[in-house]
């Protein structure tokens, strides 16, 4: 997988989280995973279809997810309920929207599926064929991993 696909997602994650949450956000070292990825507690998954295809996954601990959605709602949410899910989905939309705009400026044409949320322990995402690049982002609310598995069609 080409690294240039992941950069727009990392850049937009960093900038959206800084702007929307107003917290410290720092990008860590990129790593490569070819096997199934165990997800943390909450994962937002966006699919891409078109000239570039695959998926992007934003993965985090429940504690981190709850801090993020509480901040966005300006009220403390203690359960990962419907409002919390809708809120983290919106964050996913904002990040993806900005990344997609960058990628289409680079000349890639594709559609994005609406974000889907997965939550729970001991879950695994396995992508046959496509290897995944992972960029952890360290924030004052905890770590968010951006896991991108995309390929050119």
């Amino acid at each position: 997988m080409r690294v240039e696909y992941i950069n727009p997602f990392v850049e937009s994650s960093v900038s959206v989280m800084r702007e929307i949450l107003g917290i410290e956000v720092k990008r860590e070292q990129i790593s490569l995973k070819s096997k199934a990825v165990p997800i943390l507690d909450v994962a937002v998954i966006v699919g891409l279809v078109g000239q570039v295809e695959g998926r992007v996954l934003f993965d985090m601990k429940m504690e981190t997810a709850l801090k993020i959605v509480s901040k966005m709602n300006e009220e403390e949410l203690t359960q990962f309920d419907e409002l919390a899910k809708a809120t983290i989905t919106e964050l996913g939309n904002m990040i993806t929207g900005r990344a997609v705009t960058k990628l289409s400026e680079m000349g890639y044409r594709f559609d994005v599926t609406p974000p889907a949320i997965f939550s729970g322990h001991n879950m695994e995402i396995s992508d046959v064929e496509i290897e995944a690049l992972i960029v952890p982002i360290e924030t004052s609310y905890g770590r968010v991993e951006i896991n991108v598995a995309l390929r050119e069609k």
């Binding site: 929307i20 989905t89 919106e90 939309n93 904002m94 929207g97």
Partner: protein, 136 residues
């Protein structure tokens, strides 16, 4: 000088009546808070397109504005807009879209949407777009 009149005030003490069609409870909550802070009357909300069309038909003509999400399950924003415009060609619909959906927004404007707002929702931006739609 006197205070500025809230944007949601029609001028005769009554409020502009808004229907919010959006599948995200987060966006519905945000929009409701912004609108109510300017004295708009959020008369109803629908969390999918089909329900949105039904509610519009029920409320018509006692409704002034619709905010319509472009990506929704069941019936998407464009099809919802088509049905609303078919029923009421004077409907005032404003599109709420994520970034990166420029083609859909263009299509919505051609179909009859009066304006659009790109998320994240910024209070000033939301109110100025809505105000310009209501003033026309």
């Amino acid at each position: 000088m006197g205070e500025k009149m809230p944007i949601g005030d029609k001028g005769d003490g009554a409020s502009f009546r808004v229907l919010i069609i959006d599948d995200s409870v987060f966006v519905v909550k945000q929009l409701t808070q912004i609108l109510q802070s300017e004295k708009f009357d959020v008369i109803d909300t629908a969390n999918d397109g089909e329900q949105g069309v039904e509610k519009y038909k029920e409320l018509h003509p006692n409704i002034d504005l619709v905010t319509l999400d472009i990506t929704m399950p069941k019936l998407d924003g464009i099809s919802t807009l088509e049905r609303i415009m078919e029923f009421d060609k004077d409907a005032k619909v404003i599109i709420i879209s994520a970034l990166g959906k420029e083609d859909l927004v263009k299509k919505a404007l051609i179909t009859g949407a009066r304006n659009y707002i790109v998320k994240p929702l910024d209070r000033e931006k939301v109110l100025s777009r809505i105000e310009s739609v209501l003033k026309k």
